[in-house]
């Protein structure tokens, strides 16, 4: 009898032409492959060494310039040109300076249910919210996927997260995923796929779902997945890609290695303290922590919904005089919409510096590198020592609402009093 399958097993089976089960190492076809400016040049170099400078499907091979974008120094400008030349040579799509963060661009225009997506960036798992098996790998893996259109994979076991209850006001999907990572640890799901389901997930917007799957890697997971539903369908239709919708869900008798049931009704806003993502605290347990810089943006929380939440709190208010505020919409399209809605004006009037779409200060290269001893509260996904360009800096992670409240008060603040 055929065993019930998880979403990962189903998608990988379709891409290997036979039924696979967790634990097997297989070779699977790839639908979309991408690199970014930090990992792409090494991928191109590898293909040159192998004499395989070609791509399996130019329309689904993407080179993103987002990490150091626009380039802050000549070495990186030269690295960008390696990608531009490769794009000209092979026809691979080049996502230029200003187009936005790779993971946001992928969900806008490429990622679709049932696909296998490999990216030379750890947060490639973001696309899993659309029912795609999307996972981060190294440059060489993705280089080979470019040339061969396939990849070797270990079929992951799955941890199932059933989210129940009613999300309280002021608590968002970011708080849910930080809570989960705090609960299971930064290696709590290493090598596993995480499937998120339940009434809470069903009621989340696509944008909120992306925040959850984006951070699966922060628990060590290979990917995060959400079954497709009417929200997925509407999102794809809104993107002009309604034809890409298909039903992706686990079998009712799928075999899970572990199941977690979480009631979100009692959750509070959550903050991750330095220097690991699993070092979480409830906002009520956070004492006075002065913050020098607030960053609202990134592939985790730089979408329109996030900017709306932050703008609602910042409207008519001003950042604390000792706290810098940096806002970066995750993509050009998000930027334009935020501009049309007047959100950017609200941020500017609140004293923010708005930068062009891209990763911004999250990757520690530009647009807000920390000084020694400084503390930043950011909506990004990761707070490792040195992450934002200075090992003497301290990074706190939270939702856009908590970030906005913190910018106003100059110390970590509970957003619920502003709602």
């Amino acid at each position: 009898m055929r065993m019930g399958m998880t979403i990962s097993e189903k998608i990988i089976s379709e891409h290997t032409g036979r039924d696979v089960k967790a634990g097997e190492i297989v070779v699977a076809k790839v639908d979309v492959a991408m690199v970014q400016d930090g990992t792409g040049p090494l991928a191109v170099e590898e293909l040159k060494k192998l004499n395989m400078e070609r791509v399996f499907d130019p329309e689904n091979t993407i080179l993103f310039i987002d990490h150091a974008s626009p380039s802050p120094r000549k070495e990186l400008s030269n690295a960008h040109n390696i990608l531009r030349e490769f794009s000209k040579k092979t026809g691979a799509y080049l996502s230029e300076v200003g187009e936005g963060v790779c993971h946001q661009r992928l969900v806008e225009d490429w990622a679709s249910p049932g696909q296998i997506i490999v990216g030379a960036d750890s947060h490639t798992c973001t696309s899993g919210a659309l029912g795609a098996f999307a996972t981060g790998m190294g440059s060489t893996d993705v280089a080979l996927a470019f040339a061969l259109g396939k990849v070797w994979l270990r079929v992951p076991e799955t941890y199932r997260f059933i989210l129940k209850g009613r999300l309280p006001e002021g608590v968002y999907s970011k708080d849910i995923i930080l809570h989960i990572i705090g609960m299971i640890g930064a290696d709590g799901a290493t090598y596993k796929a995480m499937e998120f389901e339940g009434e809470v997930v069903e009621n989340l917007s696509m944008e909120s779902r992306f925040t959850i799957t984006n951070m699966a890697i922060e628990a060590g997971a290979k990917t995060g997945l959400i079954a497709t539903d009417s929200t997925t369908k509407s999102y794809l239709e809104m993107r002009g890609r309604g034809d890409k919708f298909r039903e992706i869900k686990p079998d009712p008798d799928a075999v899970y290695e572990k199941t977690f049931e979480i009631d979100v009704s009692k959750l509070e806003p959550v903050v991750s303290f330095p220097h690991t993502v699993d070092n979480t605290r409830k906002i009520s347990e956070v004492e006075d922590v002065k913050i020098d810089q607030v960053y609202i943006g990134t592939c985790t929380n730089g979408r329109l919904e996030d900017l709306r939440i932050a703008a609602d709190i910042l409207k008519g208010r001003h950042r604390h005089p000792d706290t810098r505020l940096i806002v970066i919409p995750a993509s050009r399209e998000v930027f334009i919409k935020a501009m049309k809605e007047g959100l950017l004006e609200i941020f500017m009037e609140a004293g923010a510096s708005i930068e062009s779409p891209g990763c911004g200060p999250c990757v520690g290269i530009h647009k807000g590198v920390l000084a020694d001893g400084e503390r930043v509260l950011s909506t990004q996904n990761r707070n490792f020592k040195g992450r934002m360009g200075n090992p003497e800096g301290f990074i706190y992670l939270a939702s856009p609402a908590t970030a906005a409240a913190t910018a106003i008060e100059g110390k970590i603040a509970d957003p619920r009093k502003y709602l």
């Binding site: 190492i25 750890s122 790998m137 090598y191 520690g364 590198v369």
Partner: protein, 167 residues
């Protein structure tokens, strides 16, 4: 395959930001230069101290964080022959085997910095020559071992023209 070397010991949760800090992003197209900063945010003197053949021994979740393959590559360029940890982050694990850097998973508590180790990669046996004890690591999956024997995925592809995952 026998590996012999001296131990450098690290703790839990050594991230790719400790190994290849983001502030040296511009050196990613110059790996020998980037290797001069390897593990700088975990031990600022490491790049100066490490000798060819040395072994890194660490705690849990070594290599967590970004997909940057530059991290295992500069560890290899610095001369490290093998990493033993209680556990590894997934992308780092994959990247290391792809570039021909072997990793072993074992309980590392009893190994100290400066110990001399002798490792039998195929058998997964770790001998602490300084202290005179032996550890059994978790077995390396056959395909991963083949990648090490081939010298990494690049050589593997040159040899077979494709991925050869079957045993």
């Amino acid at each position: 395959m026998i590996i012999k070397g001296r131990v450098w010991k690290f703790g839990d949760d050594i991230s790719t930001d400790h190994i290849a800090p983001g502030r040296y992003f511009h050196l990613r197209t110059n790996l020998p230069e980037l290797a001069k900063h390897v593990l700088e945010d975990a031990d600022p003197e490491f790049a100066k101290k490490v000798k060819p053949g040395d072994i890194i021994v660490a705690g849990r979740n070594f290599g967590l964080g970004s997909s940057r393959e530059h991290a295992p590559r500069i560890i290899k360029i610095a001369g490290v022959s093998c990493i033993i940890a209680k556990s590894f982050a997934r992308i780092f694990y994959r990247n290391s085997f792809n570039i021909g850097l072997p990793l072993l998973t074992a309980d590392t508590d009893k190994i100290d910095e400066g110990d001399e180790l002798e490792i039998d990669l195929e058998k997964g046996i770790i001998k602490d020559l300084t202290k005179g004890f032996e550890l059994q690591s978790q077995p390396i999956p056959p395909f991963m071992l083949r990648l090490i024997q081939d010298g990494g995925i690049e050589e593997h592809i040159k040899k077979y023209g494709d991925f050869k995952v079957e045993e």
